[in-house]
Amino acid sequence: MTSPSATAPDTRPLGSAAAGTPSGTRRGTEFEGTVTVLTRQAVADDVVSLELAASSGEPLPVWQPGAHIDVVLPTGATRQYSLCGPVGDTAHWRVAVLREPDGRGGSQWIHDHVEEGGELRVRGPRNNFPLRPATRYLFVGGGIGITPLLPMIAEADAAMAEWSLLYGGRTPSSMAFLPELEGHGERVTVRPQDKHGLLDLAGFLGDPDPSTLVYCCGPAGLIDAVEAHCADWPTGALNIERFAAAAVRQPADDTAEQPIEVELRASGTTVTVPPGLSVLKAVEQAGVPVLSSCEEGICGSCETSVLEGEVDHRDSLLTEDERAANDTMLICVSRARGGRLVLDL
């Protein structure tokens, strides 16, 4: 056990950030409220850039590279977007949003409903991806993952640090902010996949170097590859930010989704549950009352006794023992392996 290497704990005032380190923004400087969309620009295929200002006209809190804001959707769900404008600008914030057709609908809502002059509810900024001081930086951005790196690059440049950026994407037209990066000359390597294939991470990252920090943001495949490459680097050298994505449990077997027969023994009826419809919905449609709440296999409200049949458990709640007993299921997400179930409903 080592003692704290910094000053003794009782001599530092509460809540004082270390001077000179670009750590995350502090709470207490967070904003929660309504912003007005000043401009909306298409900056790449399926990417819009939004310039925001506080609707009240008050200045926005300062932030540091890597920070993000939460956009609160009308449903109450929140989506996080990195701030990618100039760090010192307290009048405006800029975010860029990629339309993700396979996502949970947040980005689509923004693309379809947010117009210039419109308003958004936001919270933040917060920073889980702070830029730490170093003499040399290697930035790796994939697709919309370029956004948190833009202010980092500006910061590194201002600090006279050595830096370079490897920027990958599907096609040149899908890659946002290329014009802004042109001014940096050879420090920026743009590698769209349609022309260059996979990124040459080994060539770009090279060998471990104690004075270098690596910052990477992008799709999971890119981050995994960078993590694999940096496995031998000093701990803390690699800094990543993953896009939060809802984990989707895959069906336990590889067979395509099949319709299933569900007998509701207490009600004396049988329902057919087609692919894409949950057992819960099918039961409700058959007029059988059943409790439910989250419809995501988390809360357990719709737990139902299974009398016959093998359950394909797809919930998050049940323990392995409970699954193995095969006598209960969460009908909002789970299905049948053998095509047939008998439930105590």
């Binding site: 009782d10 709470r27 917060r126 803390g236 988390i298 809360c299």
Partner: protein, 352 residues
Amino acid sequence: MTLTQHVRNGWYLGAWSDEIGRTLKQRWITDIPVCFYRLPDQTVTAVEDRCPHRKYPLSLGHLDDEGTLQCDYHGYRFDGQGVCVGVAEQADRPKAALRRFPLVERDGAIWIWPGDPELADESLLPDTSWLTDPSWTHVHGVVPLKARHMLLLENLLDLTHETFLHPTSIGNAAVAATPIDVTVDGDRVGFSRRMIGIEAPPFYEKSCGLTSPVDRWQDGDFYPPGIFVLNIRVAATGTEEPDGFHMKVLYGMTPGRGNETHDFYALGRDYLIDDQELTKFQHEQQLAVMQEDVDALEAQEIMYATDPGGSAESSIKSDLAALRGRRAVAKMLAREQRAQQDARVPHSRASV
């Protein structure tokens, strides 16, 4: 969530050792009034705080130097085993004995088993050796809480609330933003949250002399029905092990009377153990954080108490450990209720 009945076949933290001496102490546990005291040889004992004669609280009586407990209403006297040894009114001893509860006193804590004594199993207790380990130091106490035990349990099993309820001390955005891994081992529920490269919340900045970014680990273990142990490790990013600052928090979530709960806590650390200033600071912070929790849970209790039908609750992935904890307790309670039904005598005489 209707849990006005409590699991009794389980260990609860009944008292800290330094709370119990030669004076009689009443504490309600799972709706049972319990009277704690020490015998002349210093062994701790706990009996139901109702005199078998007319249910007068024995804790209002007194204890003599031989360890005989006298009820101060009509003078029933009980020995250290809880057996009635005489009354002033007659020469014959009444056939009366007190209900005594299994206790384990260990590392400065007194654990009580309010249910079937046959089932009391010491191996179910968590390791508390750090409370007496010379390389650790800790503070402890108990805070009264006017809210049901389940609300405290869910508070501890879902620490994302730190972000919102404790923003000036132990919470920041990183807590709510970092998903947990949940593990289950029989009835036990565990979770771990690994916050890497985050801003140090003020409490840890000051407690460890750290500057951001830090790595902060939370590993919680719930021993149903009422014990929670949190292991906290904080270190400068990239040096988590073996250089981390290690802290532990033990919570005894002990149902009291009705929907009241005893919120026992012990906060320990394995560094700067002689730093009294730091100890004082940590204790103040611990109590301040607990007060924020108590205020929140008491407000929540009112909302649950006035919604007896239980309108639907929304749940999200971060609720998983708390929901599993809730289920673990519900299952224990169901097992207990089934056992009670099976054992019920068909023609029990109603008492007056």
